[in-house]
Symmetry: C2
Subunit: 290 residues, 2 copies
Amino acid sequence: MITSIPDLKEQIDNYLAKFLPQDIDQDTLRNSMEYSVMAGGKRLRPALTLATVELLGGTINEDILRVATALELLHTYSLIHDDLPAMDNDALRRGKPTNHCKFGAGMATLAGDGLLTLAFQWVTDNNLSADIRSRLAFELAKAAGPAGMVAGQARDIEGEHQRLSLEQLRYLHRQKTGALIQYAVLAGGIIMDQPAKVQQELAAFGANYGLAFQIYDDLMDVLGTTEQMGKAVHKDAAEQKNTYPGLLGVDGAKKQLHNALIAATQSQRQLEKLTSKSFAGYDEFLAYFK
Amino acid sequence: MITSIPDLKEQIDNYLAKFLPQDIDQDTLRNSMEYSVMAGGKRLRPALTLATVELLGGTINEDILRVATALELLHTYSLIHDDLPAMDNDALRRGKPTNHCKFGAGMATLAGDGLLTLAFQWVTDNNLSADIRSRLAFELAKAAGPAGMVAGQARDIEGEHQRLSLEQLRYLHRQKTGALIQYAVLAGGIIMDQPAKVQQELAAFGANYGLAFQIYDDLMDVLGTTEQMGKAVHKDAAEQKNTYPGLLGVDGAKKQLHNALIAATQSQRQLEKLTSKSFAGYDEFLAYFK
């Protein structure tokens, strides 16, 4: 029996509300970190980890929730730092003032630093085996660090006002968004101690899912409204950001989205072959882009 | 045979120069991270880890160097973020322009984020046992995160322009500087798989050493020159920072420094009892404050 995404989200929200405050030993810092983590969001990344655990035959418990929600801490840090005046200088996130607008840029920087560090605490502070804990911390660091997400963000800053090729744009997005979503799926396989071939295919599914996610996000910035998105839209074009619609037009971007989803579906079929289990549960995640 | 601090520093510098660039996949980010890590510094934290390993009978190898130098990555991140315009707004560090003065505040934020994350990659990406790797990542996160260093920094921001009690100041410093130095010593005990009692005493030595270090740093801000220190001095008083000399006067602060060193020496003797080994090698570290 596979838990639905809304029910996964509820478990994730409850875990965060209960355990996040316990590990923060300063009041304003706690308020600032909680403010952004509890501001909502789809909880897509931890949900992908939890769904993958279930699809592989596992049962969600508090240890697994701790590892999965660590990913939401890390994702939230990246949003807080991304929104800073020195970076994208955004005032609105999830329909609310951004962290630095509410707590100041100094405290927002610390809130991000705290969330990033706490993510590593949570993946190593649980009752999973030492092998699994160490591997999770390593893969998370590789995905989020200067070979992954942070490199993508640096590339993004550097790439502004200069036109990237499709290849360069895809590489940027693979680092900036893809790496962490890929880790989210892979983490489920690590928790369930899967063979290398299965872990590779989970990573492939995650990579293509992450690519689809970024193209969709780019498209929504063009096609969506601030009300729908809870953040400013049409900002990418105004800031001369490199995006799929900017490079390929809306129809070209939609075609790339379609291709990424086909590739993800192929990994889904491959996972079913490798494990003799159904991965139909991923359909609910793929439907997000419909 | 115990390696001297200058020789430890050389090994640390060589390791960082060789391995840091390999894990960074974007040119400006690499330049920015290398700029601050290779700007020098005493390498006190990794040297404490390496010295502790040797005092416990271990031999320094590349795996242990990787774990020890991870601490320097993390320490450097904290300096870069601390210097940011949104935080202390410092222009000079180790006699050179601070990271954000050279690369801009956005890239400096990312360089710090990258160094923090890479520290966790290095402590989990080596040939030590999975138990040791996982424990190192957990203790590092606890020391550096929102229950340790980041909480201390938040307390520091919040405490400006308000007078703290000695108790509050000691607590702030235990988090802000003490936690990471305590981890540096403890890490040597974790690497050498020591019994809990030895690890506790190592942590106690580290905590008192860290306290001494902070009081000495406060005193140097009053007594030192910019040339000696490689950074602006007399800033604490100008910014109404809470410091030991500010609270207790120079003589009162010197007495607190003396007390912290006595407590550290007591731990040193206790470690000799517990392990039947000489910890005279710590004398070179304690001499730093003479």
